[in-house]
Amino acid sequence: MGHKILLKGNEVMAEAAVQAGCRFFAGYPITPQNEVPEYMSKRLPEVGGVFVQAESELAAINMVFGASASGARCMTSSSSPGISLKQEGISYIAGAELPCVIANMQRGGPGLGNIRASQADYFQAVKGGGHGDYRVIVLGPSTLPELYQLTMNAFDWADFYRNPVMILGDGILGQMAEPVELSPYKPIVNLPEKDFVLDGCKGREPRVVKTLVLKPADGLVAHNEHLQEKYQRIEDELSLCAEYETADADIVVAAYGITARVAKGAVRMAREKGIAAGLIRPITLWPFPKSLFLSIAQTASQVLVVEMSHGQFIEDVKLAMNCALPVEFLGKGGGWYPTEEVILEKIEAMAQAYAVSGKETNKCRH
């Protein structure tokens, strides 16, 4: 057993990375994630690791590219505008199939936006973000203990699949403090040998890490097919989702990250008022846990999607359920966040409308 200590989310994530063996971090200051580079600048040298404050997000992600090619467990973090800058490097790292962990403590956008929490980078995170057909494994932690655990897992999955893994948090998760037990790191997969590492060609043929594929003429087609096969394997193997009170729920709230934490409270309040509400909370946002949503579609009557954006996550919810249920929406971008009361109000309105209209519902109205 470890001991519980009170830390901010950004520090929890940084310490989890160190525990998981992260020994290289490059980053650039941006609110609300500044505690990550600050923590790493002090902590990494204590364990023989390297911290570099980069001149830009572009440089930071490319330093991570080099560190990953050198075999180090490595990480960068930022918040929304900075993550946009990193997209170039993420595309290269995904194309070259190197492992790394990237954290996005989302803030309000578009543009410079503001420094309040947001979930408006969902599309960017789960649909690609940079150029080319590639995928990044995306994790949506909801509490700081989960952030701690998922950050450690992220390094394992990055190494296991040789793929970038993104922790999609937000400003609240990064800035809030919560007691967390700093349990020791244990790998959750059999870690493959890193046979791509560039460490000088002593005793072996030289290795190349690259993304340009000119020869043979259809080489890039084959490379893309190989990547897609890997992404399919990840979809088959890695799909995490949490449920709360869904077994007999008529109204299921779908939410991820910090929003799901608020929604859980609203579901509890709805239950106290006699409404059969439940919560489904994807933990992996890519791959999206489709099968659980499909089974919810069999048992529930309505779905309420809550997110801190004007409707991005909702598209995956509808796709996963094949539009089998009516889906209501509660969400805004720009720093808006839901309270338990606001979500409860929406649940109550849905319950009332459902009682009035019976089974006649307008499917996929949003």
Binding site: V52, A59, G66
Partner: protein, 243 residues
């Protein structure tokens, strides 16, 4: 009498470079230096975007191909994780002095213990002859069709002069490969730049003025003349920093 021998640092491949291009010479010089220092098996090279992107087809050592302009950042990641390895970047003028200016300047200012080979041919070669940051004033390119300077392009950027004020820089020298004497000078500078890294002295950059007959639209001999008579006037050869 000494004879030229193959170096095992270069693969037995025909290069894709145009006739009269300087890259072949610079490749050979870097390879000879790596060979003479006996560091091939501990060297990691970083390839740029530009004509030299296929560096790994020619160099017989570990290579990572980078996004355009990012080799100094990638090299930073490699060198910081593996300080006992020898890390070099090989970059053209667009890569190093346009899209990668920030990465170059800050790697230099941090004093990263890496070696940069900067091939300046005053033009974008691979994309077909557009203006480079180092294109000479008045020089015609496909994006300065009546000569650089008349439309707000500014004058050519002088990288060694620019970097010489930075405290983290150990060694800067501008060389050329347009005469046999220059080629020998370039090799001496490249060797020093690698030796500095071995000795832990910090950031070393060797600029090499080089020919691009194809995109200059000159014969191979006139391209050599252009380096000697025009480029050297704007980009004087010499040591800009040696601490």
């Amino acid at each position: 009498m000494p004879t030229l021998k193959r170096t095992e640092v270069l693969k037995d491949n025909q290069t894709h470079y145009c006739p009269g291009c300087g890259h072949g010479i610079v490749h050979r010089l870097v390879a000879e230096v790596i060979d003479e220092l006996g560091i091939r098996e501990q060297t990691i090279g970083t390839a740029p975007v530009g004509c030299a992107v296929l560096l790994y087809d020619y160099f017989n050592c570990d290579i990572i191909e980078c996004a355009h302009g990012r080799p100094p950042a990638v090299a930073t990641g490699i060198k910081r994780v593996q300080p006992d390895k020898i890390v070099f970047t090989y970059q053209g003028d667009g890569d190093l002095a346009a899209i990668g200016t920030a990465e170059t300047v800050h790697a230099a200012n941090r004093g990263e213990n890496i070696t940069i080979i900067f091939v300046n041919n005053a033009i974008y070669g691979m994309t077909g002859g557009q203006m480079a940051p180092t294109t000479l004033t008045g020089m015609v390119s496909t994006t300065t069709q009546d000569g650089r300077g008349g439309h707000g392009e500014g004058p050519p950027m002088k990288v060694c002069e620019l970097l010489s004020s930075l405290g983290g820089v150990c060694y800067l020298e501008r060389t050329a490969v347009s005469t046999p004497k220059d080629v020998m000078g370039a090799k001496r500078a490249i060797k020093k730049a690698f030796q500095n890294q071995i000795d832990g002295k910090g950031f070393s950059l060797v600029e090499v003025l080089s020919m691009c007959p194809t995109d200059w639209k000159l014969s191979t001999s006139k391209a050599v003349d252009f380096v000697n008579n025009e480029m050297k006037k704007v980009f004087p050869l010499g040591v800009y920093k040696d601490k």
